[in-house]
């Protein structure tokens, strides 16, 4: 049987019965976009919404992949079926990518006693032109894993700077990983990434400056008043498997908080609306290109070339056709 000959519903049946090749194939369709991806989205929607979606984000080299691998190994050892979507950047010049996250994930999973590698599914994804720290296909991939019974689904973003916070719209719980020496109290109070953390991890905590990093984050949180959830700050040395259980516990504690406070529904509502908006934006962009290529479009654009119509006026006229 060649998977390439199967329809989307057939592939889903195979995936549900545990065929990992079929899962891999479906993820390719989700990444490709278009009709097949839409079909996957529609068919998986009814079964989705059960998994805890956890985002892991932070600067390049902070240890996100190592932490993710350790978390996945620990979860698999305690009987969870874990999915990981690991994102790395595509080249803006040629579209190519080196997807090197899982090199730090497979090994701890194989090395952890009781962690069945068949209970972990890791998919590497390139950003393929998307900014914001994620790939376009992330919501679709998360929904697929969710519908197939993986829980939790962990999304590791590309290495981010200060403002790439798309992960918060894609996940229930956002873990922000920093390292000693990442900045001081002024950095900590700048707007952006640090505002969106539900859990802080100071990784490489064996290095000098770890307690300073922790103090600066505590100070930042002190200035934020008394929210219902104060993000815990956890110290890890992910490469040596130190502090990982505490992170895992904090992640499930946060899920409990989301459920008790009802915030989980708020967050998932935001997530669904954000996906609708993204889809609409993409639809509109296509319509814009199509409209400019119509006869009316060509005429107005010719007037712009002549200088008889201002670009802003041309845009107003053509907007009527969209």
């Amino acid at each position: 049987m060649s998977l390439r000959d199967l329809t989307v519903p057939e592939l889903l049946d195979e995936a549900r019965s545990g065929d990992r090749r079929a899962i891999g194939r479906l993820l390719t369709l989700v990444e490709r976009g278009g009709e097949a991806a839409d079909q996957v989205a529609k068919l998986t929607h009814p079964d989705a919404g059960k998994a805890h979606v956890v985002g892991i984000t932070g600067a390049p080299g902070a240890g996100k992949s190592t932490l993710t691998g350790r978390l996945a190994a620990g979860l698999a050892a305690t009987g969870h079926r874990v999915a990981v979507v690991a994102i790395d950047p595509s080249s803006p010049l040629n579209g190519g990518a080196i997807l090197g996250d899982r090199i730090r994930m497979d090994e701890p999973i194989h090395a952890t006693e009781g962690a069945d590698p068949n209970n972990v599914f890791i998919r590497s994804m390139a950003t393929r032109g998307q900014s914001g720290g994620l790939a376009v296909a992330v919501p679709g991939a998360v929904r697929l894993f969710d519908a197939l019974g993986f829980d939790p689904v962990i999304v590791e973003t590309v290495g981010v700077g200060q403002i790439e916070v798309d992960i918060t719209a894609a996940s229930d719980t956002t873990v922000v990983v920093v390292t000693p020496g990442w900045g001081d109290a002024v950095q900590a109070n700048k707007a952006g990434l640090l505002e969106v953390a539900d859990i802080f991890v100071v990784n490489k905590a064996e290095r000098p400056g770890a307690s300073d990093a922790r103090r600066d984050l505590e100070l930042m949180l002190d200035l934020g008043g008394h929210p219902a959830w104060r993000p815990p700050i956890l110290m890890t040395t992910a490469v040596d498997n130190v502090g990982i259980d505490e992170v895992s516990t904090a992640i499930s504690t946060h899920l409990g908080h989301l459920r008790e406070s009802g915030e989980i529904d708020t967050r998932r509502g935001v997530r669904a609306r954000s996906e609708v908006a993204t889809r609409l934006h993409a639809f509109l962009l296509t319509r814009v290109d199509e409209t400019m290529a119509t006869t009316e479009g060509e005429q107005v654009l010719a007037d712009v070339d002549d200088g008889t119509v201002a670009p802003v006026e041309a845009a107003h006229r053509l907007s009527n056709y969209i």
Binding site: N94, G95, G96, I98, L99
Partner: protein
């Protein structure tokens, strides 16, 4: 619709520490627009196949510099077949000319020996991966 980028898994198996070549290949494939799932050193056959499955890879690239190509490459081809994956295995590294035919006979899709140009590496991987 834009065509999918070609996704290739690159790895070295077992006791073989020479990964400079594989890093060069990873970089030149990236620059040619490929998505390279880089596994690097000290992998096992089963681990590489498991990755190819999860990543729905279009090809597996094995780099071999320890003289084990006549054992390791056919083993990988067999493991791919056993999992019913349709993924060609491409071998690079130090392969004497006299061994190339034996590798091809064992099911290896292509052999990129010493002196293969960057352009040839890209071209061979492209033609090996059957267009959908």
């Amino acid at each position: 619709m834009m065509q999918d980028p070609i996704r290739i898994v690159l790895a070295k198996i077992g006791f073989d520490g020479h990964d400079r070549g594989l890093k060069v290949v990873a970089r030149l494939l990236r620059d040619a627009g490929f998505e390279v799932i880089y596994l690097g050193l000290r992998q096992t056959t089963d681990a590489v196949v498991a990755v190819a499955e999860q990543e729905d890879a279009d090809a597996i690239g094995l780099s071999i510099h320890n003289g084990g190509h006549l054992t390791l490459a056919p083993r990988m081809v067999a493991a791919v077949a056993e999992r019913e994956l349709e993924v060609p295995v491409i071998v690079g590294g130090i392969v004497p000319d006299r061994d190339i035919q034996a590798l091809l006979d064992s099911g290896v899709a292509a052999v990129l020996g010493p002196g293969t140009s960057a352009a040839d590496v890209v071209a061979v991987v492209r033609t090996t991966v059957a267009p959908e």
